[in-house]
């Protein structure tokens, strides 16, 4: 029963994606809506990204200092560990889990409300491809902007650690800076960006799917938005396992 419904949702999702990824009716309209969505989904997320990144970067550094107090460990260990945690997992998986809460629920509730108030029917009646018109700009806008959020997150998280070095005597600034530069692997940055782009696609498309097929009223819109966050979080973690295996091995 659960399996059958999972398979049917999966099929419906890809049929929906086929409608989303069709040629826009008007390129100019698509272009301006994409800019609008970049603003709403991407730029508006910047403050949240900065705040959580600073805290997480600081916490990582503090934890590393507390848990690697063994004098046998090299001087760079704290900085290196903080940097790699941020590059490998925090700036993509964890950040996207948080953004699934913000952006995913926003998309699902917006599209769900349009469904229950018949605005999507109104688009269909005019002959507009509603899935394409509403969803493609969101997916494209968010996916395009995600690498910027990812890089911003890496930068501010490392700054957060730097703040710990400056404002506490847990670790010296020079040791921290030496650590975050030691044994740097550029591929880790690309790995993070690839993951975050995939996750951004999952967040936007799954949330849009949840909203688009709402039936009922305001109550169901709320459920759809919860569903969107839960489903995309699970899918993000699942894809995290798969991508890590594929990209880092």
């Amino acid at each position: 029963m659960i399996l059958a419904s999972a398979i049917s949702s999966f099929g419906r999702y890809w049929l929906f994606m086929k409608r989303v990824f069709s040629v826009p009716d008007k390129w100019r309209v698509f272009y301006s809506r994409t800019i609008f969505e970049i603003n709403k989904l991407g730029i508006d997320s910047i403050p949240l990204v900065i705040v959580i990144s600073i805290f997480i970067g600081a916490v990582c550094t503090i934890q590393m200092v507390l848990n690697t107090s063994n004098p046998l460990l090299p001087a760079y260990s704290v900085g290196l560990a903080t940097r790699d945690i941020v590059l490998l997992e925090f700036s993509n998986s964890i950040l996207c889990l948080i953004l699934a809460g913000k952006v995913g629920s926003n998309i699902a509730s917006e599209i769900g409300t349009m469904r229950v108030t018949e605005q999507i029917d109104a688009l269909d009646i005019m002959g507009v491809n509603s899935a394409n018109y509403l969803v493609l700009p969101k997916v494209v806008g968010f996916v395009l902007f995600m690498p910027i959020l990812d890089v911003l997150c890496i930068g501010t998280a490392l700054l957060g650690g730097y703040g710990v070095a400056i404002f506490t005597d847990m670790i010296t600034v020079s040791r921290y800076v030496y650590g975050i530069q030691a044994f740097f692997q550029e591929w880790y940055v690309w790995y993070g960006i690839i993951k975050s782009v995939v996750f951004a696609y999952i967040i936007a498309s799954v949330a849009a799917y949840c909203g688009f097929f709402v039936k009922g009223g305001a109550l169901e819109v709320g459920k759809a938005s919860t569903n969107a966050v839960v489903s995309s979080s699970i899918l993000i973690l699942l894809m995290d396992v798969i991508l890590t295996k594929l990209l880092l091995q």
Partner: protein, 257 residues
């Protein structure tokens, strides 16, 4: 002309809302679908435009079989359709003017200035002034209705569907809307279908009335024939109030049309 032949619709919950309904809606006439709340008017209208898919039957738009069309043909047909939803269905994120300009922006090559001019013309036709830059949430329900009508007529549709265009309007504005719908129908030769249970509209603009009772076609005629019908269900519905019963007695006594 839109011909509906023997359509039936049963929802997932097993309830049959339309039983074998047939009706003909004429070009250049105001066609009314009347019936009690819950009788299936909205479902019928949604079936005709394709938002609800009936299990059986035929829907012909000037001879073109709608249910057999491929998506491309449906898309092209829909450019000839304007629809007013029962709940207005205005786009929340657009202003009043933006809503009316929307179909023009999507389907014409008009410049923004021309779109604006056309949108303002349509808003003036529904008697709505000075709300251009307000958002749907900032105007009253009746005003939203009128914006939705303006949006529906913006592209000069060949087929116009209005689900309860004057519910929530005061009698005066209601009259203005009825006259507007009647005027544009005759002026441009539109096939207009209006769902209503407003008796003033029925008497005023009922050129072809289809009465639906619990999802079954009950009676067909025009507003003059209405007064002389002995269909009991129809009379129970139309002449439910004393005022209309008095009007009917008067008309029958004086043997007028």
């Amino acid at each position: 002309m839109i011909e509906v032949k023997n359509i039936s619709k049963t929802f997932d919950d097993g309830r049959t809302v339309l039983h074998d309904v047939s009706a003909t809606f004429y070009t250049g006439k105001t066609n009314l679908i009347i019936g009690q709340s819950g009788s299936g008017k909205t479902v019928m209208m949604k079936s005709i435009v394709g938002l609800v898919r009936p299990e059986s039957g035929e829907i012909l738009y000037d001879g073109r079989d709608f249910l057999a069309m491929d998506p491309e043909q449906i898309k092209n047909l829909r450019k000839e359709i304007g629809m007013l939803f029962q709940g207005s269905a205005l786009f929340d994120s657009e202003t009043v003017l933006g809503n009316v300009m929307f179909p023009l922006m999507m389907f014409t090559s008009m410049s923004p200035a021309e779109q604006r001019e056309r949108a303002q013309f349509c808003l003036a036709r529904v008697n709505l002034h000075g709300a251009d830059h307000k958002y749907p949430a900032e105007i009253s329900g009746g005003m939203q209705k009128r914006v939705a009508i303006a949006r529906a007529i913006a592209l000069n549709p060949k087929y116009l569907f209005c689900d309860e265009p004057n519910s929530g309007l005061d009698p005066r504005t209601s009259l203005v809307i009825d006259e507007l719908l009647s005027d544009i129908t005759h002026e441009y030769g539109i096939t207009t279908i209006i769902n209503t249970h407003d008796m003033n509209s029925v008497m005023g603009i009922g050129e072809n009335i289809v009465f639906i009772k619990e999802g079954r076609p009950g009676w067909v005629g025009n507003s003059r024939e209405l007064f002389h019908s002995d269909n009991k269900d129809l009379n129970d519905f139309v002449f439910a109030t004393q005022l209309f019963r008095d009007a009917r007695s008067y008309i029958r006594e004086h043997n007028r049309n």
